[in-house]
Symmetry: C2
Subunit: 339 residues, 2 copies
Amino acid sequence: MPKPVPTQQLINNLLRGDRLALARAISRVEDDAEEAARIVKAVFAHTGRAHLIGITGAPGTGKSTLVSALVESYRARGETVGVLAVDPTSPFSGGALLGDRVRMTRHSGDAGVFIRSMATRRGTGGLAKASADALLLLDAAGFDCVLVETVGAGQAEIEIARVADTVVVVEAPGLGDEVQAIKAGLLEIADIFAVNKADRKGAARTVAALEMMLETGGAAVRTVLHHGQRMEAGATASITEDEDGWSIPVLETIAVSGGGAAQLRDALERHRTWLDESGARVARESRRLNHMLQTLVQAEILARMEQALSPGLHREMVEKMQQRETDPYSAAADLVRKL
Amino acid sequence: MPKPVPTQQLINNLLRGDRLALARAISRVEDDAEEAARIVKAVFAHTGRAHLIGITGAPGTGKSTLVSALVESYRARGETVGVLAVDPTSPFSGGALLGDRVRMTRHSGDAGVFIRSMATRRGTGGLAKASADALLLLDAAGFDCVLVETVGAGQAEIEIARVADTVVVVEAPGLGDEVQAIKAGLLEIADIFAVNKADRKGAARTVAALEMMLETGGAAVRTVLHHGQRMEAGATASITEDEDGWSIPVLETIAVSGGGAAQLRDALERHRTWLDESGARVARESRRLNHMLQTLVQAEILARMEQALSPGLHREMVEKMQQRETDPYSAAADLVRKL
């Protein structure tokens, strides 16, 4: 068996942009909490340069294809791109991620593109932490632009995309009622809307509906949300200012043929310029780091809790609940007291 | 302003099956942690009788319509039904839930049906707790059958449906690649598959694909998963036994016309009988109570943590990170030390 590469060497190579070192570092960060701390500590000073772009949307909108088209568009201008495809829905979605990889093979010979899929059994908390770590590593490795794509459409997935500098929400015509419902959850976080599959029936109606929503409810919704975030985060007083001077565009794309990808890239560039000029970039980084800090503190405390809890005690409590000798709240209070 | 009903009176009325008391109790449980503890403690001894059914699936499969058809089918046999529709994707999905309500108005004059929607801004953790509490209240109020439907399709949504006695996963033909991907996450938790919109093109192929998956990979996947759960839970040694003697049916439904709803109800009844006879019901209740206990203990510990953390300190840490004077891991370790 070959000796594992020492961590310090891995870090040095990663900071030089070595792709193999980057891939290995991401694996170590996923697998080993101590290595994660060591690697992130070492590279953190080199982060903050990449444009972090979150891409999310309901299933069936063609996000992966759009990401691929966007990568091509960035490459055509000579910019380097890192992609993190996050799938929190399943530990068994090898098929889905393989599908991504197949679509992405056209970039496989290109040293300016790095693609990584991430799925985990460690629950959504573990994935939030691992993906935040991986984004820092991609940033430190020197990519001009880092895309994080989430496959699912739940709250946890939205959270992962939301911490980006710029959030693209992908829609598509004709996905039915429930997808419209999910849109409500995505409206609040979008900096840019891409209506994909724009050659399909109903695309114009989807665009019109989004534009109407943005004109009417959108502003109010965003203000409420940012207010909520500020309350929560306690460190982002400038977040409502984010929105001044940025009007959310609704773009049409046809990702399978690459149609609209250049326009989407241009909108992303405009947003990046706006982020820098308005000071919103600093506010968003603050929100991102704050979120990461909370995640790490919670993970540490929950890990200590699990160590302190004996499985026997836990089992005993469950049995007493099944006999209706105690109830969940009393049992939880008991356990917390014993910690 | 009318005086609020005293908690004890609310509890008494709820236990008599009073719907208004039930609705009020659920609201209090959602809004107030102390009231939640008080109410759940009081009603817990009266729980464990309802058949808890989780209904989940990718967006666009027509879950809500199927739930409505199923309610009608149960009512036709004189059984009472409580429905909890959980939407963790958005704090602003009034539209979606309203859509559900409109579809459900045909049951509105029926005292044997109770429908409640639940969406929250408190994050997925808060929703998991609130929905677990609400299910106990519905159970205690005496409904024969309690359906919990999740609108989204992320890990958090799956977790909420997964704790039921019986899990129905709804599929539909022609939802595209990404939906197929999500299916991978749902395969492991299904006791029954319903292929809805069975009159559409591709339905037979969807049924065949599911049946093939169940014949080949399904068993292995489920064993791995249950093994994983056992490791995690520490209290569910009998869980792999669950699967003995139950073969997962794949049913076709056309929810809009009610087609297949009676067959689905029959399959649910068969599963209920199997649960009782095999002892799996006890194992699943153990898993559910274990999950609830963990959720409550974590919530309590995180709440104490937030009280202990001063916002000023938090903000200071974020600023130091932005200056690259510290990194997220060092900052988190600092904060945990100070707790």
